[in-house]
């Protein structure tokens, strides 16, 4: 398919040809009169500044300047004329470009009295028909808090606040923390590691090989557990893979941390009148977290169903740029892992690259769909909504809203804020129009990772981690998805990724690898407590997001 026409302002002709999904070739011809006019203008400007031997500054004759600086003038004129011509042709041809036009500068020849002809390749927004997005059937988990969960939250809160008693039991039990030394021996390999393990979390510090911690149950301080294994491909130390490995774990210390009983006196330290009120406060906070997470889960299900119902070819360039953005945002993590000799560098890069790849296409696809739904349903963002968002962000950062507005205007970040609001409003619209079935929540948690740590309060105040709402992404350019779990689903936002193993990511390994997540709003989340109350990412992450946005071409 191709089309052609004549653009309005610049005297030019254009022709569009399809060269692949979401890719067009634009053939532009700028009239000779326009070329002459531009050359004339450039030459006049140059003649006033140029200094040629034998002439005072600016007194050199035009024809001499034109002849002496022909190459420079042509280049300058081409650089000014070509983008303008591309811009006008794209507007005239109604092309919604999402990438910087690609063309060979060296092939562009500009001569006086001749039309300027050139070809450019552009990536355009995909054209597609929306599938069903209203009345989509989804399930939402009932927001209930079970007593045993609340007990765990209370225990966690008490331990966090230091109301603990530490016992040193004779034998290791599943609720113990075990410290020791692990010696790993293999052909050409003999290393010892300080090791810390719990039955629940496995190794939180130790060697780069899996240690079956269940074997430690029933053992005493001073005991040594030995076993042999063949290190598999999943082993993080490449030197051990495929080799027979002998592991000796010597137990140096066993401790059991128990929270004290919640009393009215302890509750008063948290600013509550009695133990019952404290429990009630924790219950309501935990309920909020569960409700938010079940809502997020339902929204993700909804988006996945709408995406599945709307097939179209995603522009590969946009996916690649998005992937690059994710990788640059995660650069800090990659750099840190590179300094850790326990991890294989190539594997680390590959794992992160795969995660970014998997997420990028999904997020880019969703972005185009949400943008189109917003357009079809006439969902817009009003100025006062932007003002309110900025005011909330300014409050969270402790700066003046006017300063933040000025800074974001200068950086071009306002578009990201607008997109964040538009995305939120569109998802809310979709949720209002979905057929939601509330399903009962089973015990032992079927809302992703609503563990006690998510709500553990600090003495005297609020939650240590708050859930972040899905954040803003300018369409097609800089949306960052959550880290994809092993099941392809995004990891829950607000999840603290630290020494504690992320059970959804499936790539942290059993040796206490630290992972960071890219939040839905375009920045890596290094911990739930880094998020402010608006769900915006920490400042460092935003910087990355901004840099990536600056790199991203316009029109995306």
């Amino acid at each position: 398919m191709s089309s052609e026409g004549k653009a309005a302002t610049l005297d030019l002709k254009w022709q569009v040809e399809d060269i692949g999904p979401c890719r067009k070739k634009l053939i532009v011809e700028v009239a000779a009169s326009e070329v002459n006019r531009a050359l004339e203008k450039s030459c006049s400007a140059l003649a006033g500044d140029v200094q040629i031997p034998g002439f005072r500054k600016g007194r050199a004759p035009r024809d001499l300047v034109e002849k002496r600086f022909a190459a420079e003038i042509s280049k300058e004129v081409a650089e000014a004329l070509v983008p303008e011509a591309i811009d006008q042709s794209c507007k005239a041809a109604s092309l919604d470009i999402i990438s910087a036009p690609r063309f060979d500068r060296d092939k562009i020849r500009l001569r006086k009295g001749e039309p300027l002809k050139f070809e450019v390749e552009v990536e355009v927004k995909p054209e597609f028909i929306l599938g069903q997005y209203k009345g989509v059937e989804i399930n939402q988990l009932e927001a209930v808090v079970f007593d045993e969960e609340l007990d765990a939250v209370v225990r966690e809160a008490l331990i966090e606040a230091g109301h603990v008693s530490i016992e040193e039991p004779m034998e290791a039990t599943p609720d113990c923390e075990i410290f020791g030394t692990t010696r790993v021996e293999a052909e050409g390999f003999d290393e010892s590691y300080l090791t810390r393990a719990t039955i629940e979390d496995g190794l939180t510090l130790g060697p780069p090989v899996a240690v079956p911690v269940d074997m430690l149950i029933g053992k005493k301080t001073g005991d040594t557990v030995e076993y042999e294994m063949i290190a598999g491909e999943e082993c993080q130390a490449s030197a051990l893979r495929g080799k027979k490995v002998k592991i000796s774990f010597r137990i140096n210390k066993i401790i059991r941390q128990k929270s004290k009983e919640l009393t009215d006196e302890i509750a008063r330290e948290f600013g509550e009148p009695d133990a019952a009120a404290f429990r009630e406060k924790l219950r309501s906070k935990f309920m909020e977290v569960i409700a938010e997470k079940s809502k997020t889960r339902a929204e993700e299900e909804l988006l996945e169903k709408i995406t599945a119902a709307t097939p179209f070819e995603v522009p590969r360039g946009a996916v690649e740029r998005y992937k690059e953005f994710v990788l640059s945002a995660l650069d800090r993590v990659i750099r840190r892992l590179r300094t850790d000799e326990r991890y294989d560098n190539e594997d680390t890069d590959e794992t992160i690259s795969k995660l970014a790849e998997a997420d990028s296409e999904r997020i880019v696809r969703q972005t185009f769909i949400l943008e189109k739904i917003a357009k079809v349903e006439n969902i817009t963002v009003e100025d006062d909504e932007v003002d309110a968002e900025l005011a909330a962000m300014a409050r969270a950062r402790g700066v003046r809203a006017s300063d933040l507005f000025r800074q974001m205007s200068e950086n071009g970040d306002l578009e990201a804020v607008k997109w964040k609001i538009l995305r939120r409003k569109t998802i809310d619209f979709l949720m209002r129009n979905a057929n939601i079935t509330v399903v009962p929540r089973k015990r032992n948690g079927d809302v992703a990772d609503t563990g006690p740590s998510a709500t553990a309060p600090v003495a005297g105040g609020g939650p240590a981690a708050e859930t972040g709402a899905s954040g803003p992404v300018p369409p097609g350019a800089v949306e960052v998805g959550g880290t994809t779990g092993s099941d392809g689903a995004p990891a829950p936002t607000g999840e603290v990724a630290g020494d504690r193993i992320d059970s959804t990511s499936g790539h942290a390994g059993s040796s206490g690898a630290k992972t960071e997540q890219a939040s839905e709003d375009g920045a890596p989340v290094t911990g739930g407590d880094n998020r402010d109350d608006t769900g915006t990412p920490p400042a460092t992450g935003e910087g990355d997001a901004r840099r990536a946005r600056e790199d991203a071409p316009e029109g995306t």
Binding site: I52, G54, F55, R56, P61, L64
Partner: protein, 98 residues
């Protein structure tokens, strides 16, 4: 007499003044060989540029005393040279000296 026209005409002189007289009076300025005569210049220009020369005026530019850095601040002399201003005959095509 110098027979080689390329030896007679060294280079065109491009200055504000030469540009001015070229435009106003159809006169062209060249640096020429120190020994070249007006006749040599006329023949050389007519042969090289295929034009009709009406008049030739020549002048010797004397060396100037100048302090040269390469002589560590001691005064030296610039080179002397010979200049010719050629007036083209009416109706003759111009010379592209740029």
């Amino acid at each position: 007499m110098i027979s080689d026209p390329y030896a007679v005409i060294r280079r065109p002189i491009m200055t504000e003044k030469s540009h001015s007289i070229r435009k106003d009076r159809n006169q062209y300025t060249f640096e020429i060989h120190r020994s070249a005569t007006k006749d040599d210049v006329k023949r050389a220009v007519e042969k090289l540029f295929n034009v009709k020369v009406a008049a030739v005026r020549t002048m010797n530019i004397k060396p100037r005393t100048k302090v040269f850095r390469r002589l560590r601040g001691k005064p030296g002399k610039t080179r002397g040279w010979k200049k010719a201003i050629i007036t083209l005959a009416p109706g003759s095509p111009g010379i592209d000296v740029l």
